[in-house]
């Protein structure tokens, strides 16, 4: 051996070239599947072009090597001499191509990264949008539930307050600045004597006293509220009612007053009771004074009457002095009767109290007066509950009470009518109502009718002591007397003209309990 054999190197070159071609094409195949799998992936695109260039280089180089070995070692070296520049040129060119593809990678990757970054941001944004949409959906679902709950609560609350508003026995109202009522409960409508069908009710117009209206408005506008304002309210039905009013101003979103709202309590009954109490006190005072006066006058009158009768005996009947003395005697007797009435009123007259049936007392009185009543076209309607428990009283004085009441009723019904007498028993009391269908008693004189010497009759027709005496007798029997005019029907709450006197008298302490029945 004269040198180092090149055959192993030639063999490696031949086999290696074939392997390089094979591997380059396997790589190309994978790159192709990658690009098919994800066509939009830039890196796979680069690897695809890189593999193409490399496969081309592998073919150029490998085939060149194989051809060279084949030609040169099969004695066709001259052919290879012609082909070798092409083989070498292709090799060079394809190596440059692979390098160029790498430059393409360099330029493209930056753009791809930028696009991918934007795409990722977009994906993130989409993801967040999705999450937000989901949250929104959940919120919406919850919101529906919340709204449902709130609506239910609100409805419950609305129902509660609406019931309170409607069922309140006091007036509850809302009005605008001009006083036009925007909402009012049914008790309010009743109290104002208005009808629900009325389109507008102006609350300010119902104030009977303009000065009170001024106080109401100025209080609301300056302080924002009024408290316990005593308002006389002239209802649409003409009835004046006393209302204890508390009100507030309603404010708009910008703080300006947009209306008024308030609650008012009907104090008419309390007012009446208060006035009656005052009246009772007044009557008691007047009674004491009348008793004192009557006592003082009674003795001189007795003396005047005695002496006038003695003098009268000294003169012949029909003579002028006798006639004069008769006038003195008659007028003195009138004075004594007035004094006796005053004493009855002031409860100074002597009483003989026994156990009485009030129905019998009334019947006794009617036996005397009914004929006269019938002549005046007045019909008596009896609604007696029998048996009634007995009361303890002076029969004569009680007769006087009913005579006075029937006389007054007759006077009030000049054109005729009805007197309804109702007796009933209540807890420990007997109640008697004398109801006429007469002209009634005006609101302005209702508080004066029990005053001594107060009368609406012409001069000479009455002394004004009838109801005073009645009042005094009832007081003496520990009873009560109330006047009602016009008369309310408790069944349908309607009112009719006329007057009703309601008397109560206590039953006797040892009265047996009995079943009662109504006899008409």
């Amino acid at each position: 051996m004269t040198g180092l054999p090149l055959l192993p190197a030639i063999t490696v070159e031949f086999a290696g070239s074939a392997l390089v071609i094979l591997l380059a094409f396997i790589a190309l195949r994978y790159a192709w599947t990658l690009i098919r799998l994800e066509p939009d992936n830039f890196i796979w695109g680069f690897l695809w072009y890189f593999s193409i260039a490399l496969a081309a280089f592998a073919i150029s180089r490998g085939v060149g090597h194989i051809i060279r070995i084949t030609l040169v070692y099969t004695d066709h070296g001259s052919t290879w001499v012609k082909l070798s520049p092409f083989s070498g040129g292709f090799n060079t060119m394809l190596m440059i191509s692979v390098a160029a593809v790498t430059i393409y990678y360099h330029r493209g990757l930056a753009a791809y990264k930028a696009i991918r970054s934007e795409a990722e941001k977009l994906a993130d944004a989409n993801l967040k949008l999705g999450e937000n949409a989901k949250e929104l959906q959940e919120l919406n679902t919850n919101l529906e539930g919340l709204v449902e709950d709130r609506t239910r609560d609100l409805s419950k609350s609305e129902k509660k307050f609406r019931t309170f508003f409607e069922n309140s026995k006091d007036i509850v109202y809302f009005s605008d600045l001009q006083g036009n009522i925007t909402d009012i409960n049914s008790s309010g409508l009743d109290l104002l004597g208005a009808d629900a069908s009325e389109r507008t009710i102006n609350f300010h117009d119902l104030f009977a006293d303009p000065a009170v209206l001024d106080r109401y408005l100025s209080g609301l506008q300056t302080r924002g509220f009024v408290s316990d304002l005593d308002v006389q309210c002239a209802g649409r039905d003409g009835v004046t009612r006393h209302i204890l009013l508390s009100g507030n101003a309603s404010y708009g979103p910008t703080g300006e007053i947009i209306g008024y709202e308030g609650i008012g309590k009907d104090m008419t009954r309390l007012q009446t009771i208060t006035e009656q109490l005052i009246n009772h006190e007044k009557m008691a005072t007047v009674g004491k004074m009348a008793a004192g006066v009557a006592h003082e006058i009674n003795t001189p009158l007795g003396i005047i009457l005695g002496y006038s009768q003695l003098i009268m005996e000294d003169f012949e009947e029909g003579s002028e002095p006798h006639t004069t003395m008769q006038v003195i005697e008659r007028q003195t007797k009138v004075c004594r009767r007035i004094v006796a009435d005053l004493l009855k009123f002031s409860r100074q007259a002597e009483s003989q109290k026994t156990s009485l049936d009030i129905n019998e007392i009334i019947k006794d009185v009617l036996a005397v007066t009914e004929h006269s009543l019938n002549i005046n076209n007045i019909e008596v309607v009896r609604k007696f509950s029998e048996p009634l428990p007995p009361i303890t009283g002076d029969a004569e004085k009680l007769h006087q009470v009913f005579i006075n009441l029937f006389n007054n009723a007759q006077y009030a019904m000049a054109e005729g009518g009805y007197i309804t007498i109702v007796t009933s028993r209540e807890e420990g009391q007997v109640k008697i109502s004398i109801i006429d269908t007469g002209v009634g008693i005006g609101e302005n004189i209702k508080n004066k009718i029990f005053d001594p010497f107060f009368t609406t009759k012409e001069v000479g027709e009455g002394t004004g002591l009838g109801l005073s005496v009645t009042y005094g007798i009832i007081q003496e029997h520990d009873g009560t007397i109330e006047v009602e005019s016009p008369v309310s029907d408790r069944r349908d709450e309607s009112e009719s003209p006329g007057t009703a006197f309601h008397l109560t008298l206590p039953t006797a302490a040892d009265a047996p309990e009995t079943n009662e029945k109504e006899i008409e």
């Binding site: 090149l6 055959l7 086999a15 790589a27 070692y73 190596m95 990757l109």
Partner: protein
């Protein structure tokens, strides 16, 4: 485009002309092809080095497939260097350094010098380029499998 034009020009002159006849144009004598080829090797090395460096530092090109790709780059760089050296060495060998050239019994004559050893080793360059391409195949296969299962991109 210029690259394609140059290629076509080279092909034209290769087929239909000779260097001696092209007096009117700039001549491209025999060493030029060698230099261009060697420069192509250097360009190829630079491109692969860049690719190796860039895939190493880039987040998007991490994973098993890219590690094989980087191995491919290293093997191919090594091959390019070896090929470059092989070409240079061959240029520096004399006809006397070969015995029975272009025959199956061809030998490198004794004494075996460093250049001759270098040439011999360079002649075995397929021991680098074949593993390089094998690494590329493994790399692309990994990419394919990952891509199929929706993994690394």
């Amino acid at each position: 485009m210029r690259f394609i034009r140059c290629t076509l020009l080279v092909a034209f002159w290769g087929l239909f002309g000779s260097v001696e006849n092209a007096m009117a144009l700039q001549t491209h004598g025999p060493p030029e092809g060698f230099y261009v080829h060697q420069m192509a090797h250097l360009l190829f090395i630079a491109a692969l080095a860049y690719l190796y460096w860039h895939t190493r530092k880039t987040q998007e090109t991490s994973g098993k497939g890219w590690r094989y790709f980087q191995l491919f780059c290293l093997f191919l760089i090594a091959w390019n260097i070896l090929a470059f050296i092989g070409h240079e060495t061959y240029e520096n060998l004399n006809p006397e350094d070969f015995i029975g050239r272009n025959t199956w019994a061809a030998q490198l004559s004794y004494p075996i010098t460093f250049k001759k050893v270098l040439y011999y080793i360079a002649k075995m360059d397929h021991f680098l380029i074949v593993p390089a391409l094998f690494a590329l195949v493994i790399s692309l296969r990994s990419f394919y499998l990952d891509a199929k299962t929706g993994g690394n991109k």
